[in-house]
């Protein structure tokens, strides 16, 4: 326990985390609700990371989330720059994109661009895009999630860019920098500081939102448990295990996010070099606040 504390992790909260697992596993099994009897063995079997279909389901959740989020960030940057462009057609395209993808349900977007486009013969998602073999549904899911995310990222990126002092752009221009250089070297790196905390929240959301792509038949984490409980008729154990896996993924992410935020904080405050907890871990309160 003391070793954990030295590393700034609060033992109390770690215990709390394990308590949830214990509560579900043992606490529930001792009680019976009507004819329901908690199957602790099945629950633990559902959690077992050595199960190979579960591994591939978890892998899909994480991989699709990362690729979709990256696509979302890139699209978001372009949409934000488009929205702020002097050239009117850029603004119109960017606004149209944001309007449509923020204004319609992701579920309908997934169904429409996969089944709808397929049925209309507009675009049939091939099973080997970019020379990589996977199901067409996986490509469709990743790209549609990414496009949807881009519309939300656009507003986040725009707020980040607007938070940068206009004097920075003027200084860059006065040194002979072009618009591209000014953006890539001066404005976006500074905007990143403002963008990264909400971006972290977006990725946290993305990890969980991937459960929606089950409608395209992709066996990601959520769909894995849906199919499993359907075979064994134990939804309580299955969904509890599924929830725990998602909780683990988002928790790990919050630590990663804290590290990223600290790296981007350089040069912001005179004490930025102090290794303090990042936004996410402060939010999670899993780390004790640093004493100064």
């Amino acid at each position: 326990m003391n070793r954990l504390r030295e590393r700034g992790i609060r033992p109390a909260l770690l215990v709390g985390f394990l308590f949830i697992v214990a509560l579900v596993a043992t606490g529930c099994s001792s009680r019976s609700h009507g004819t329901f009897k908690f199957d602790g063995g099945a629950f633990l079997a559902y959690l077992d990371p050595r199960t190979s279909p579960l591994q591939s389901a978890l892998y899909l959740t994480v991989a699709i989330s990362i690729v979709a989020q990256l696509l979302g960030v890139v699209l978001g940057i372009f949409a934000a720059l488009g929205k702020m462009a002097r050239f009117a057609p850029f603004r119109i395209v960017a606004n149209l994109y944001i309007w449509i993808f923020r204004g319609t349900p992701l579920l309908i977007q997934l169904m429409f661009f996969f089944y709808g486009f397929g049925a209309a013969g507009i675009f049939d998602w091939p099973d080997d895009m970019l020379g990589l073999p996977a199901k067409g549904a996986i490509y469709a899911a990743t790209i549609i999630l990414g496009i949807n995310e881009g519309a939300y990222m656009a507003e986040i990126v725009r707020a980040g860019i607007m938070s940068v002092d206009p004097g920075q752009t003027e200084a860059a221009k006065s040194l002979g920098m072009t618009y591209r250089l000014t953006m890539s070297r001066i404005v976006l790196p500074q905007a990143a500081r403002v963008i990264i905390p909400p971006l972290g929240n977006e990725f946290n959301n993305m990890l969980k939102t991937t459960s929606l792509i089950s409608v395209l038949g992709v066996i990601e984490t959520y769909n894995y448990y849906v199919t499993q409980q359907g075979l064994k008729f134990n939804p309580f154990e299955a969904y509890a295990a599924g929830a725990l896996w998602f909780l683990l993924m988002t928790t790990v992410w919050s630590f990663v996010q804290g590290r990223i935020e600290r790296r981007f904080a350089k040069g912001t405050t005179p004490t930025a070099d102090v290794r303090g907890p990042g936004f996410a871990s402060r939010l999670m309160a899993l780390r004790a606040p640093i004493e100064q």
Binding site: D165, G167, Q168, E170, A171, A172, K173, S174, L175, G176, M177, T178, Y179, L181, R185, I186, P189, Q190, K266, G267, T268, T269, P270, A272
Partner: protein
């Protein structure tokens, strides 16, 4: 002044960038009948100004007189609606169309190239906060001029030494005082080897005890032959360093002359009343 002793600028400042950058023409800045409107507000009215090679021109005048707006038109941070501004004989920010009757804004890349020749120092320093002092100075030579990193770093280091901040190379701007930041901002502009330096109220945002160290660097530059336009309220600096003082009011050049003429025997009523208020 004790501050001047603290700041050791013993060596040649421009030596760090290989001597005085040679402008192509003897007249570095030639502004002719510059007119500018902000909406319906006429902020520059037929402003004319010539600056010769090696000259230091100080622009004075009450706030709202258009002096800052004017200096910002010289590197096209502000658009103009009438007149022409030439730097080194090149029309800045525009190209002539329709037989010279119309001005069309130049391509972004051309404007950027023209700005490489014109250094600018801002009232609020505008150092890049995510870069160290050294990186701030190296940024444009490396990414705009595609200079090899080692070469740019050597120049940056030499410039830092000349402005008395060699020890601060790896420090971020927020850990520096205003005076130190402004000296680094001057070094950053000099690293591009500009033929002309523009100073937009470089000491107005500084605590009084830091003004001296920045003015000292500017005096040094002027003495070494840099061509400079300085918008400033520092009359002591103007008196000592300026070849010419330009008085602006309500968007017009009211009067110009040597410091002795302007401060000793101003001919215009507006100059007299302005000087009586600030001296």
């Amino acid at each position: 002044m004790s501050i001047q002793h603290q700041v050791e600028i013993s060596h040649n400042l421009l030596g760090a960038i290989g001597g005085v950058p040679r402008p192509e023409a003897d007249v570095v800045v030639d502004a002719r009948d510059v007119n500018k409107w902000f909406g319906r507000l006429h902020v520059l009215k037929d402003v004319c100004l010539q600056v010769k090679r090696g000259e230091t021109v100080v622009v004075i005048g009450p706030s709202g007189s258009g002096k800052t707006t004017f200096i910002r038109t010289v590197n096209h941070l502000e658009k103009i609606q009438g007149g022409r501004i030439f730097v080194n004989g090149h029309l800045i920010g525009y190209r002539e169309a329709n037989g010279g009757k119309k001005l069309v804004e130049d391509k972004e890349n051309n404007i950027a190239r023209q700005r490489q020749e014109i250094g600018m120092v801002f009232q609020r320093f505008n150092l890049f906060p995510h870069m160290t002092a050294l990186e701030n100075i190296m940024e444009a030579p490396v990414h705009v001029r595609s200079q090899p990193k080692a070469e740019a770093e050597a120049t940056a280091q030499a410039l830092l030494e000349r402005v008395g901040l060699a020890a601060k190379a790896n420090v971020y701007p927020n850990q520096l005082s205003g005076g130190q930041q402004q000296r680094i901002a001057i070094a950053r502009a000099l690293a591009m080897k500009p033929a002309l330096m523009l100073f937009d109220e470089p000491t107005s945002a500084l605590d009084p005890e830091m003004i001296g160290e920045v003015l000292e660097v500017m005096k040094e530059l002027a003495r070494e032959g840099m061509t400079m336009i300085v918008v400033s309220h520092e009359m002591g600096f103007a008196r000592e360093v300026a070849n010419r003082v330009v008085m602006m009011d309500e968007g017009q050049v009211v009067e110009e002359g040597t410091p002795a003429q302007i401060f000793g025997a101003p001919t215009q009523e507006r100059t007299k009343s302005f000087l009586s208020k600030i001296l």
